[in-house]
Amino acid sequence: MGILEDAVSSAATTRTLSCGVRRILDQAGVAAAAATTGLTLRQIEIAALRQEIIPERYLRNFDSYSYEQQIRLLEASVFMVGLGGLGGHLLELLARAGVGAITAVDGDVFEPHNLNRQLLSSMDFVGRPKAEAAALRVAAINPSVRFLAHHSYLEVATDGAVADPKLREALESATVVVDALGGLKDRLGLQNAAARADLPLVTAAIAGGSGFVATVLPGHPGPADFLGAGDADEDQLGTPAPAVALTASLQANEVLRILRGKGPSLAGKMLLFDLTANTFETVTL
């Protein structure tokens, strides 16, 4: 057994749970193995999972996720645009699930009217960058995640080329691109940027109790091709919290599905919902 395997294995404990006997590595054990080996928390978690040892923080992901799938999540990289209503909830869900690397882009600061729904917003953060709140949040809930938040807007040329070289590199090295934008103006640009990088895009939007979630594969049409880039219904109907949190959950579920290697369930489709009547239906584009 190598030094890494030994460090992980000796810090693990065996527990008998209702689902069977499991070897578990608690957070102190992850930290101790990282200190011994000089590796990151994320690398220790991956090494543990390879020996069928579950880092305690991911215990309740099992057996919905297999060891192999949890490793895939930790080795995956997400590029997301928007840290508002959808983005805040998405970031929470992806970081807790154990997505290894997340890059997020949002040039906004919090405004008082964000407080109805945006998980990252709080009274003392009004006027401060959403990217800053996001970095604090991820560090507080899962320090294994390599998280980079950019307090800027993603500029994309009509051919899908991302202007900022650093952001272009982050997007190109991602596994999945996530559209958590507000408004329709920038959505087609992001869809083009994902297509240019040959990556799947998971997109979603809400107006009142209505909304959709969709996956767009490179070269295929997506909602942004049809919905336009102008004013939209949320200007009249707003974005109530339950619709936002639900949509982000559906979106996170699709992202995690793709990252776990199970393939998208909404490619070329739109999951439409109407919370005023509690109806859900999946349509083809």
Binding site: G183, F212, E234, L272, V283
Partner: protein, 75 residues
């Protein structure tokens, strides 16, 4: 013939009283239906018949379920 209508977001206020059993003449197209409901093509960005995206020229058949989706972009 009888069809079913399902509208989303701001389009819901254009729905007739019995949207789940709405009567239209045989051979009605999507465009003609929108005209009957007082909706412009600009308001309706996506139309689905029985779960499949269709054009405004699509002809509606007895028992079809139509979905009407507007510009939705909130996050």
């Amino acid at each position: 013939m009888i069809i079913t209508l399902k509208a989303f977001a701001t389009l819901q206020k254009y729905m007739p009283e019995h949207a789940d059993a709405y009567e239209v003449p045989e051979g009605t197209t999507v465009q003609e239906l929108l005209d009957r409901l007082g909706l412009s093509d600009d308001q309706v960005r996506l139309v689905f018949i029985n779960g499949a995206h269709v054009s405004l020229q699509a002809v509606i058949a007895e028992g079809d379920r139509l979905g009407l989706f507007p510009a939705v972009g909130g996050g």
